[in-house]
Symmetry: C2
Subunit: 356 residues, 2 copies
DNA sequence: CGTTAGCACTCTCACCCATCGAGTGCTAAC
DNA sequence: GTTAGCACTCGATGGGTGAGAGTGCTAACG
């Protein structure tokens, strides 16, 4: 086989790179195996199809391309995409007009990371024609920003807990006091809690609450509510990833490689299993760059036909989330990377405001 | 053709009903056209296959069954399912154990309709092996229960608005006052707003705000925030359906009739178009019973292969939402109806507590 | 008159086979 | 190193065939 010097990795000569690039870009648009002739016709390569065939054979033995069968054209391997992404092309930044439009959209949405991350997923789905994925910015330890209590009836109140991280938690608390509890009392309790617990985490709050005077009605009630608050914070802190929101899975369904819904079903199943995404997201959140997982590079069997492009956002050490896209391995990497990059940058800016 | 008295509608004789029922239930479990012989074997009908064939032919000419082709067994038509649901079977109530389990689950969730309706969809999906659908209880006009303001920086505050209906809205308000605004001032503003706006709707609130004294700093700020509150309420009131949450679409995907993902793709597309669901939900919310839309009864072309079973919940004139399931027309109607019925009843109870 | 056995008929499905065409890999010449 | 030429491979396509399932009809039966 080895007709010319084999360089399975490392600096491929420029012409080979150009051809690999052409194969990938042709395949990305047509979804059909690419033949030598098609390449010569559609890309001005200045050589004959026979020459191209030689090079294709070399690229194949280097593991960058494959053959579905003898008489078919070439298809990129996962490794081929990897090489393409790392050594041949650069990310294409999102056009300025679209950047502006998206900024505008985010400006219209309520001021809460709760809503941003969903919008991020939706936006990514629309821009890349793949599925958009996003998690909320999850702080290592949540901080109390605000406590509010609303009377529901004589013995129950609705507790509203605002976290510095931008999310709001709600819970019902039962106050089985001998005397009925009115809104005025609740206001006092809330004021006390706001005074004492501002910017505290679960652990700190627990200490503060221990110091309350149980003989005073207001303080006793505050203690009761405080217990609940601590429990909510602990739950929140314990969850690895609060939620994974995805949008535009339909886009992926439309790709011809998923016409037999079987493969896609597997992907969906894997997606519903949050443990996996949580893990992946955790690993991305640790790093500081875009992470690309192509096909079989993914440890999860079901994900072998799709590519994930994920980027962290937020503040290391404080709150971290992930945005990204999920598409067929056959996707337009330069655009997808550029888009994910922009959206994660935007999310960074937004989260910064929360901590400003 | 007409070998015996034709009764296209109305009281089918009992034996014919039993056979229609057998065909449907066999088809529901096997997803294969049902032949006369299979019926005789698997259901103790006490007659020969030839007799069954006669009856099948009659049921077919009455429009209750069809033939995919000459030499295939029978398949129920949409009309057949309709007759089956209305005249032959009754809803099977959900087993008491499961009822208990579900009540328990709802008890664990935060005290807010926001969360309940999602849980309802998830629960329905799990119980029926179809897709669960739910909308939040949407009040005709939202009422203010609580206003809270948290300082973000000198010129911005985060507004938290709790509605009597159980949902929470959040927004950023910019306070471009000459002097900086601190949390203490914000507390006064919030107290004022809570005092004046409690239980008011958008229109009422607007009147109340007009009466504020613009020369006082606190009142002026309250006016500023109030404008924003009114805008939020108006937006909320204007939306026909806030959100349609669905879960378990995967279940539907697994049905053999959707193996070629094309049909399902259409369903998904229709589902993403909220206008349609909003309309449907609106019509259900108006009525007071479970509504079943079988296959081509659905005005929307894309939904011709699925059945919707929807039930309203909430308080007429106050807040109304919808829960239900979406599955293949070939689904177990008695169970699905029983389950939807239970869940909508449960949601009713929960919403009742909000207004208690 | 309803029920049944028997039978011809229809249609799908699975299988085989031949053909076609795209695209390769090799070789020899430039 | 590049190219033209050519044999070869293999999937896709389409027609043909046989098996099997299930029907509809008819004639006989109680």
């Amino acid at each position: 086989m080895a007709r010319r010097v084999r360089r399975p990795l490392g600096p491929l000569d420029l012409r080979s790179q150009a051809i690999l690039r052409a194969v990938i870009e042709e395949y990305v648009t047509t979804a059909q195996p690419v033949g030598s002739q098609a390449l010569v016709e559609r890309y001005g390569l200045g050589v004959s199809s026979a020459t191209v065939r030689h090079i294709l054979a070399d690229l194949e033995s280097a593991g960058l391309l494959t053959h579905p069968h003898t008489s078919a054209g070439r298809v990129p391997t996962d490794f081929g995409y990897r090489f393409y992404v790392e050594s041949i092309v650069d990310a294409v930044p999102l056009p300025a007009v679209e950047q502006l439009m998206i900024r505008h959209q985010f400006g219209q949405v309520e001021f809460a990371s709760e809503h941003w991350f969903r919008l991020a997923a939706t936006t990514l789905a629309g821009l890349t024609r793949a599925a958009g994925i996003a998690t909320p910015a999850k702080p290592r330890a949540a901080h109390i920003r605000r406590v509010d209590l609303v009377a529901v009836n004589e013995r129950m109140a609705s507790l509203i807990l605002v976290l510095r991280e931008g999310s709001i938690k709600q819970a019902a608390v039962t106050l089985d006091e001998a005397d009925t509890v009115d809104q005025a009392t609740l206001n006092q309790v809330a004021a006390l809690l706001n005074d004492r617990l501002l910017d505290q985490t679960a652990t700190l709050a627990e200490g503060t609450l221990a110091a309350l005077d149980e003989t005073d009605t207001v303080q006793r009630l505050a203690g009761r509510v405080g217990e609940r608050i601590v429990r909510i914070l602990r739950d929140y802190d314990a969850a690895a990833v609060e939620e994974v929101f995805s949008d535009g899975l339909l886009n992926v369904m439309e790709a011809p490689e998923f016409a037999q819904s079987d493969k896609l079903r597997q992907v969906f199943t894997a997606l519903e299993n949050r443990a996996y995404l949580g893990e992946l997201v955790g690993s991305v959140a640790g790093s500081d760059r875009i992470r690309i997982v192509i096909g079989a590079e993914n440890p999860v069997e079901e994900m072998h036909d799709v590519t994930l492009i994920l980027a962290p956002y937020g503040r290391p050490g404080r709150a971290l989330g992930v945005v990204g896209v999920l598409g067929p391995t056959r996707m337009s990497y330069p655009n997808a990377i550029g888009t994910v990059s922009f959206v994660s940058g935007l999310m960074n800016e937004l989260v910064d405001h929360l901590y400003a």
